[in-house]
Symmetry: C2
Subunit: 306 residues, 2 copies
């Protein structure tokens, strides 16, 4: 595909996933325009400061940039808090307004971040067009509402893909989440109180997530697409991988605290659709991804030369 | 329940369903405040003029009335057109804003009109918490988005019921729809070109719909509730009932025109939830409802004394 006329607006560009997307989009020939709520002066060309929660400001930005593509990643993401935060409602309304402005200004394709939290709880891998959409958190409801609003916005106007993200991890992940918290504690030789650790999750390295974003922008296929690894792993198993990589055993104290009420026992992606329709699968095995993430943390702490 | 402090704001109050709700809500002791986009001077106390598509105006209205309950029926409903109209997007955004304003102002309970068009196509009766939410029209997507936004808005704030309306009919139904069009043609002795007529539908008399609205406002149960009859009926069968009631055979020409692409072969409600959880079921059999509707049309045309 010739991207010479493709101009992508990336929201949440400074976030954990967004920052990994920008070089990949440039590499595919997109003219990348990145949005941040904070000051962007030092970030260079292609950066725009905009409070997307203000629909007037976001419409003005869209009219100025006239993007052909929209990669919409911005949302409240504060660990723990985001599940039931009232800010989910503001991000829902802001996303509906942004997507409307985008298509109204002639935009051609939207790729937006949904969540595995939209699915009904299930003890088997979650399948895009089969597992029902039955969230049980404020976050899940707001994301599901945004999905259906995207469908309503796209009718007769343009393309769309809705990513259902599973559990991205890697360098830059917010420190309060399990993998970075465990790495940080173990590198420092500190104990960490954990929940039961029997929860089964689908972890995917942020580089693979960013690659999936780029692939989904750069296709004409419409649909919901899981973005996970397809591999089931308990928190205890990932904890053991981290302990082995760091060389610090016995510091993760499982069953030391309660999991939140909405914590589900099993959340794993079926990744057939991305493979069958787009020939895409994640590249980094969990052990390799943990190795990279531990090394990055050590460099950050000055324990390893870059 | 003591309704002395219950003030209900009814949107779409002048519409086909809304007008049947008002006396039932008053009979239950609600202080009824009705909204119309058009002039309300001649309608008396309790009427308010407001363009709900203007979120500033709708917030101002909510702050003025401070309703405890919201019955939200307003939406684009122009026969044929509403399935794919861009106005669905405006009603989605307006509904999200109205519901947000309502809870923000201390409102306690929302009952809002969804649609059987939110369900996945299915050859068996549609069950609230089992049949997947997979619409295939702009209208269905916008309604589904509003449902999930209502869930997000209600979290930690108040009660809610989402009605999935099947096929309301009765006096006042928009003239272009099948039942009123057939009655009108047959009373006048005119032929009517119809689609195949093999479509199976679930018709419910508007009086029963209005009663369901009142019952759902006047409970503390939260959930999705089908509002249908639970009875499957082909368009040919309802056409035969009308022909028998009017005494005019052979005027409905089935297979004379194509059905729209999104027309589904089978759309019928499972009504167990309303019966089991609320002890509610519709009262008017289809034959009786058709008799009432034909009589009302004859009175309107001056062919029968009131």
């Amino acid at each position: 595909m010739n991207q010479t006329e493709s101009r992508v607006l990336v929201t949440g560009a400074r976030g954990f996933i967004g920052r990994h997307c920008l070089p990949r989009l440039r590499a595919r020939g997109f003219d990348v325009h990145a949005v941040s709520a904070g000051p962007v002066d030092e970030l260079g060309a292609g950066w725009h400061q905009c409070d997307l929660l203000d629909p007037v400001a976001s419409e003005r930005l869209v009219r100025k940039i006239r993007p052909t593509h929209l990669l919409h990643l911005a949302w409240i993401a504060e660990p723990g808090v985001f599940w039931q935060s009232p800010l989910n409602r503001k991000w829902l309304a802001a996303s509906v307004a942004l997507i409307e402005s985008f298509y109204e200004a002639g935009g051609r394709r939207v790729v937006a971040a949904g969540s595995c939290a939209e699915y009904a709880a299930s003890a088997s891998p979650h399948v895009e067009d089969t597992t029902p959409t039955v969230p049980d958190t404020l976050y899940g409801h707001a994301k599901a509402a945004t999905y259906f609003a995207l469908r309503a916005a796209a009718h007769g106007r343009g393309g769309w893909a809705w990513m259902r993200l599973f559990f991205p991890y890697g360098p830059g992940e917010p420190a309060a989440r399990f993998i970075p918290a465990a790495i940080n504690a173990l590198i420092r030789g500190q104990k960490l109180d954990c929940t039961s650790g029997t929860q089964v999750r689908d972890f995917i390295h942020v580089r693979d997530v960013a690659e999936a974003c780029a692939v989904l922008l750069d296709t004409d296929l419409n649909g919901i697409f899981n973005v996970g690894s397809g591999n089931a792993c308990t928190l205890r198993e990932v904890g053991a991988l981290i302990a082995a990589e760091v060389g610090a055993e016995g510091l993760l104290r499982f069953n030391a605290r309660e999991a939140p009420a909405h914590d589900r026992p099993y959340v794993v992606a079926d990744m057939s659709k991305m493979l069958n329709q787009l020939g895409w699968k994640p590249q980094l095995a969990l052990s390799e991804g943990i190795r990279i993430t531990v090394a990055a943390k050590r460099r950050e702490l000055g324990l390893l030369s870059a």
